[in-house]
Symmetry: C2
Subunit: 377 residues, 2 copies
Amino acid sequence: MTPGSAALGHVRDRVDRALQDFVGQQRGVLLAAGDDLRLGAESIAGLLAGGKRLRPAFCYWGWRGAGGPDCPQIINAAAALELLHAGALIHDDLMDASDTRRGQPSLHRQFEARHAARGWYGSAEAFGMGVAILLGDLLICWTDEMFHASGLPGDALRRGRPVLDRMRTEVFAGQYLDLLGQATGDETVAGALRVVEFKTAKYTIERPLHLGAALASAGPGPASPDGGRIEGGAGGTAGSDGTLAAAYTAYGLPLGIAFQLRDDILGVFGDPAQTGKPAGDDVREGKRTVLLAIARDRATAAQAQVIDRYLGDPLLDEAGTAEVRAAITGTGAVAECERMIGRHVGEAIGALEGAPVAGEAKEALAELAVAATARDG
Amino acid sequence: MTPGSAALGHVRDRVDRALQDFVGQQRGVLLAAGDDLRLGAESIAGLLAGGKRLRPAFCYWGWRGAGGPDCPQIINAAAALELLHAGALIHDDLMDASDTRRGQPSLHRQFEARHAARGWYGSAEAFGMGVAILLGDLLICWTDEMFHASGLPGDALRRGRPVLDRMRTEVFAGQYLDLLGQATGDETVAGALRVVEFKTAKYTIERPLHLGAALASAGPGPASPDGGRIEGGAGGTAGSDGTLAAAYTAYGLPLGIAFQLRDDILGVFGDPAQTGKPAGDDVREGKRTVLLAIARDRATAAQAQVIDRYLGDPLLDEAGTAEVRAAITGTGAVAECERMIGRHVGEAIGALEGAPVAGEAKEALAELAVAATARDG
């Protein structure tokens, strides 16, 4: 039991059941189109069985913190975020050419292997890619279906809608910036942190909290590009709502950075049994993380040489992983990341003090901050 | 001026403007994440500038036929379907490895070329693929944003929502069946027609009509897998609504098949200036169309040999295109497809007679049936 497991567990089991129910219904729709869709439906159900349900948890506690009552409707709406996340992961694994996800072959690899094993026509790789694109699209679309069928009143959904919209535009924009930064060779810590802000901090923590608050009528819509508020996103009176949303931002953004830094460390040093990915996978995939940007900044010529030799090497083995780990640790980048995690988690929890967040939720969010960034993930 | 251009033109110009306005707003959101997103925003705007707006037109006339008034709100909701379509096209071109779309390089090729020209790091192909996945995802998500921000009342959106949901699940299911059929070598006419039902007939015509009807309060939700109706999808009284929806199905499904058959013929015989694709592109991509399934069914050994030699050949040139065209025509498949188009268009128009469709809309739908399947597309 990690600290915070109560705050997560309170939501997780019910989110799991809501997802099972929803996917069970969709299975019927898919099979009506053709029995051949059975395998696709099963792969989706398998992928959705895993995951920590962090985004639903933040959405739920964002709602509770705004005074929303515990009820099945908010669980359904929060669970919808997990469908978006699963779709984004399928597409992400395809873009990164990742072989594994949650301890299983990634979805495109599953279908590639099935194609190869059965000796089907055409390219197995193209088949795996096509299925992964389509099933990812399907899951992304189901987000809206589950959200609007959550049972929450129309007014609540109308308030939440622009936050969900903004969250999705931001996460895809963040991934685009990441891709572009990789291509142009932006190795700066600042560049990596900007990607983390959009791709992780807003997407995983800040916006789910804002969504919960907006659904509970206390949340504002996301800020519009010119700094104003999107019409229709604001519920209730501006005063206290703005304060709550600002508190969620002050908590969510630093926590999101800490969460990503923990993920960066696990991506290089994590135990495969814990991460569901092979050891050193971020190095193998050449990911442009904050940890690696800091390591490069601080590396001696010899350390830089080791990092450059293995980064993005698809054949990276155990010995190479050990060597690159030693080089990164030697730069002091891991210790620096741990310090940053501690500082950012402290900042996040500090932001809760004096914030207009309802009692039980405040405690749960403090627990979640620790749980989401713990060494044993 | 093709026949039916009045019914299409009435909608198209206003849909164009609604899309421009929406994409202009989103541009602001994207640029707030980073100026690097400018190119992505421009590519999206460029892609959205083209297209016949068939799905918005059917949605609009589905609404009008159900007694809905002409108003900007229904134009906005109908235009949202064009965002879904653009996202699906980007992903489709990637899966098919298509080089062109609407007379321009396909989106993944645009970004691949940019990467190569600038000598960026990593694989240009992987970069093009990644950007295409992300921008397609973005467009698919924007569908919901534009739909819910259309200005239609909450009740109308609540009635339309399950139809939009069903339409999206069906189109991705249809594409999945297509991919699987290609891999398993299903060359039957029946198999190709089943894909057409989901991927084209429901998606392009039947569901947009149902969506318009549901928004206007006269439409039922889509049938649930067990043949019942989805709760919340039905507006008004069941009697007349069921009749209207049934009429739209009786019109939409045969018309959808005719529309796809015309597309099949254009994919082999069409003029690039008209199709926006190179001559013979369906042959080059090895598409498993109804036209080709019929041609194979009827081919002599010599004709089959020619078809098999060129089908899926990425290097297919002008001489090869001419040869394969002659073989396909020689089987009588083109004449058979033309007969099927005529019969299905007749069936569609016949279904309008006696249907409870409001006057002007009935005439527009008859015009659209001809326009959507005309030889000059």
